[in-house]
Amino acid sequence: MGSLFRSEEMALCQLFLQSEAAYACVSELGELGLVQFRDLNPDVNAFQRKFVNEVRRCDEMERKLRYLEKEIKKDGIPMLDTGESPEAPQPREMIDLEATFEKLENELREVNQNAEALKRNFLELTELKHILRKTQVFFDESVPAVYKSSTSHSSNKYRRYLQMADNQNEDEQAQLLGEEGVRASQPGQNLKLGFVAGVISREKLPAFERMLWRACRGNVFLRQAMIESPLEDPTNGDQVYKSVFIIFFQGDQLKTRVKKICEGFRATLYPCPEAPADRREMAMGVMTRIEDLNTVLGQTQDHRHRVLVAAAKNLKNWFVKVRKIKAIYHTLNLFNLDVTQKCLIAECWVPLLDIETIQLALRRGTERSGSSVPPILNRMQTFENPPTYNRTNKFTKAFQALIDAYGVASYREMNPAPYTIITFPFLFAVMFGDIGHGAIMALFGLWMIRKEKGLAAQKTDNEIWNIFFGGRYIIFLMGVFSMYTGLIYNDIFSKSLNIFGSHWHVSYNKSTVWNNKMLQLSPATSDYEGTPYPFGMDPIWQVATSNKIVFQNAYKMKISIIFGVLHMIFGVVMSWHNHTYFRNRLSLIYEFIPQLVFLLLLFFYMVLLMFIKWNRYAATNKMPYTESCAPSILITFIDMVLFNTPKTPAQGCEVYMFWGQHFIQVVFVLIALGCIPVMLLGKPIKIMQARKLANVQPITGADAEVGGMSNGGGGGGHGGAGHHDEEEMSEIFIHQGIHTIEYVLGSVSHTASYLRLWALSLAHAQLAEVLWTMVLSIGLNKEGWYGGVFVTVVFAFWAILTVGILVLMEGLSAFLHTLRLHWVEFQSKFYLGQGYAFQPFSFDSIIENGGSASGDAE
């Protein structure tokens, strides 16, 4: 029967699949997600498996898809994600997919290469354009200042001069006619200077200049001008700032040197005509070519965009398909190939309840593949330990995860998860009890639950958010229970609600009140109405700031112990269920009963004492049951266990609460102490006796040796002779000893450990009160309009601290302590937790993990 109380029954099955049908059947099983395959070829290398080629092809396809994805992301095109999972395609479709991807990849690569070449061309032309523009300035400045200064607007002379310069031009040489040049040229000698023009990145320019100066010994002349707009580098698309430079030199040697230096600094040189007319012609040519290139570039980008948009529509789909194919082939690699019968054999763990569903899926798969032979699912008997499978839904999944984090349950042992659904939020709430903070938590949880579809669809990598979202049901329940315990503690943001009217009244008269700074109400008089506040803590205790903590400490410590002892008894009772299910009669009699008796007689008795004390002692009673005679339960307990004579009580009081208490206590302690040797020795001795009986029957000569065995360790040899696979006697004794000591000492320490319920609730209440007194009440005290502004600021501060410290930090802290209480104090009474989880072959989980299919299916 399937339920969460125990893990599901599992069966090891053998699956015989015909080779043609294997692919389709595995595909169906993957969609179902209920079968865990075992690796039947564990010692075969990954490269020697049968379907390694197909896996390689899938890897190749995935690589191409990833390349496409990268390009699509670079262009910022949104990828359509319908959330639907397409079915795994047939093997013959795989070839079509491969061809499609190949074509797309090639097209994209070609487009990218073309774009790069075009951009390089574009860059060269742009640089040339800038050079032509800037060198105009350089050549203009070569006009002698004499002409310029006096006749700056006399264009005629200027034009005539230029014509003169033009006429005297030769190929690569220009006449630099400065004043000196004029003087030098007058005797008829022309200074023929060579020049090179080019472009270099701005950062390299100073070093370039220095190098030129040093290498050419100052005989070259460099002019440079910055290009204002940055240019795009074709390879990586960076924007680089460059400068135009022109170098004038004389002679061939300097020319070679200059050219080498330019090469070294990766400056690009361009041929630049010095005649202005040529330059203008060239400039116009360059402009037209740039425009053409721009058009072509635009068209290339459009084409690329179209290709990517078309691919983006199907990309997610393709990813899913490829991953499914890969998963199927990985799984097929786990099978054994039976060559003679041309079928594949698989071994798998299957939940018993789902065998019908799996048979149906297999039949569907065989029909799809068109094979005639039906697959055979055959249950095997095995002594191996099956995996633990707990069928959870979205609500119980989180609680099961909490339990599994400590250890996966052993096969078919009692699962603590269904009880944890309520006890975990409840114990959390005992530590967190505040209506206001509980409301914040509950609303947060409720919001996450209402929006769960939308929030789950946005897959983020933010770990913290994923943890909160995964625990939304836990958070919601914790908040709701905290509101309830907050109502009982009567604490909302450190204030109390007065719903039913306080049952305490002040009966002092005016003069007493005026003359005394502090007055205490007495429960013996009419100060106390006689009946308690009907639901929760009386609101007067929140008003009585001086001794509220004294009263509440006594209360909270008692409830911590009460709930702790009950929780632990619940744990021990769970072990009873485990023993009866596994028919472990020995454990039932010699472990469970003494454990329960020990716990009940000592600690449950203490709980009963608490209830008796609550009932018997009242301020309005006569002696010896007045409040001054109420004995301390802790002292009573200690005296009981240590057999101390109790201290003589005050006048008129008695030591014991009820008649016969001393006798009962002695009896209880003696019985509890008597349980300890039963726990320690009962089971091992019984096992030893059982083995003796089993040994005696076949081997009659062993009687004498058996009789000589001592109670302690020594049965190892004989135990081992007959039963090689069972534990040795000494080990059993040691195990039992450890178990007993752990239980007995643990019962004391765990009971005290539950006092953390008191400690954390006290800390929480005090923190809330500090925030009120030190923050919010100061804000509320101010009057006037500036008081309004002030209280707004103070409220913001208070709200941030409330959410950050009290809800988040205290919440995390209480969560952790509750988890510890469950894992250690509760589960150590019965939980083994030595199973391994059931990991079915499921496409959903593989796709969620995003392509780590290689690890999952093996």
């Binding site: 339920s3 969460l4 109380f5 119980t396 269904p418 009880y419 659904i421 309520i422 409840f426 005992v430 009982i488 009217g501 306080s502 305490w504 009244h505 002040v506 009966s507 002092y508 008269n509 005016k510 007493t512 009140v513 005026w514 700074k517 502090m518 007055l519 205490q520 109400l521 007495s522 429960p523 013996a524 009419s526 100060d527 009946t531 308690p532 506040y533 009907p534 639901f535 929760g536 803590m537 007067i540 008003v543 009585a544 700031t545 001086s546 509220k548 009263f551 008692k558 409830i559 009460i562 709930f563 009950l566 209830f611 609550w614 009932n615 009242a618 301020a619 009673n621 409040e627 109420a630």
Partner: protein
């Protein structure tokens, strides 16, 4: 005196209804777990309320109030301070 027992009886009755009667109405595939949850909720919540009630039933000490607190109680909760002491033991 009978009125003293009314609140505890009502509250116990409510939790008894939730814990004993409601589980019979649980339906669905997770019937067992739902029943378990309802019963556990009822038991723990009722016990928690009971402990608080029992603690305050026979208090051993009374609250210690400052003058301010007494006067605020007088004003807000209608707990008038009389001229003469009104003590009945």
């Amino acid at each position: 005196m009978v009125e003293a027992y009314v609140p505890p009886v009502i509250i116990t009755a409510i939790w008894a209804f939730i814990g004993i009667i409601c589980p019979f109405f649980a339906r669905g595939p997770n019937r067992g777990v739902t029943q378990c949850c309802i019963m556990l909720t009822a038991v723990t919540c009722w016990l928690f309320w009971l402990c608080c009630y029992l603690t305050q039933m026979n208090p051993l000490i009374g609250p210690k109030l400052s003058m301010n607190e007494i006067m605020i109680m007088a004003r807000e909760w209608g707990n008038e301070i009389k001229d003469t002491m009104d003590v009945t033991v």
